[in-house]
Symmetry: C2
Amino acid sequence: MRKGEVTKQHIINKSAELFNQKGYAGCSISEIMDATGLKKGGIYRFFSSKDEIALESFAYAVEMVGEHFTRAMEGNKTAIEKIISLFDVYADVVHHPPLRGGCPLLNTAVESDDTHPFLREQALAAMNGFLATIQSILSEGIENKELRPDIDRTSLASFIFANLEGSIMASKLEGDNQHVAFGKEHLFTYLRTLRIQN
Amino acid sequence: MRKGEVTKQHIINKSAELFNQKGYAGCSISEIMDATGLKKGGIYRFFSSKDEIALESFAYAVEMVGEHFTRAMEGNKTAIEKIISLFDVYADVVHHPPLRGGCPLLNTAVESDDTHPFLREQALAAMNGFLATIQSILSEGIENKELRPDIDRTSLASFIFANLEGSIMASKLEGDNQHVAFGKEHLFTYLRTLRIQN
């Protein structure tokens, strides 16, 4: 990487953390300057606006968390194990989330849905990508005769996703990882009722 | 109500809607002035700070949504029916949520968890109140021999709550009520596996 690219990535990394904790509206350019140790000109050399920093930071956050999900699923053979392992990425959301501040998709979705169309669109694309991943794991499970063929993959993927995000929200709010653990446990019990062999 | 109380309630109603759509950080006093038609002095006659408006608006929002939940449960006899009816409050979250902007608990939790200790505390109290309500419905279901006595009420209430909030988040983001409907459907199927008579 050239020096300019290193600096740009440094701004993105720090901004992603800041935005994920304080929100886009709650985070100013001067806070990004503090966090990066750069002057305003040093930041605007790479980005034309705060919105552009927000978009690139969110794209980075989604990619980074996506890699955590991919790694968590590795080594798991059944569809149910793969899906359940997604919860492990946020097992310690209180102290060690993949990105400080919790789930960037949850945070960005809730902040942007009524107010920031450009961010909302990116958050929606990220959600649809995640839903498609879950759906394809379910398809695999059906093909492998692990899961019942009459499962509605669209609605089940939505249910799995909602569980994960809702439990992250509750654990972050309480400062206690128990809700993510509860979500994992009940979802596991439910998914087992959808196996061909119960 | 005296005229002063009417004005104060008017500020709270409008601020609750604004905060629920734009967030606390994303909403300025001048927007509250615009929405209420009041001057700054007319607002600060009743509140000492924006934080105080935020706290009172959130308390109002939680109470108002709580009334919707209570009404939704009325007329339902079984614990499962009562729990499932909670989803009806947000069945049309895209166009007609109880409060514009979606679920105030979700919005406030996600915004405040890392940054606003005073709001976070109130959001946590609201979540715990809601969890306690769900737990007591489950207890009723166990006493009435509808639900299995070995159910862990704490973890099941958390799972139900996470589902509702996560599905609201997804529906709001996509602008499509389907996720709340999916959540309701799968939760209903799961809860039926926890009945004494399957």
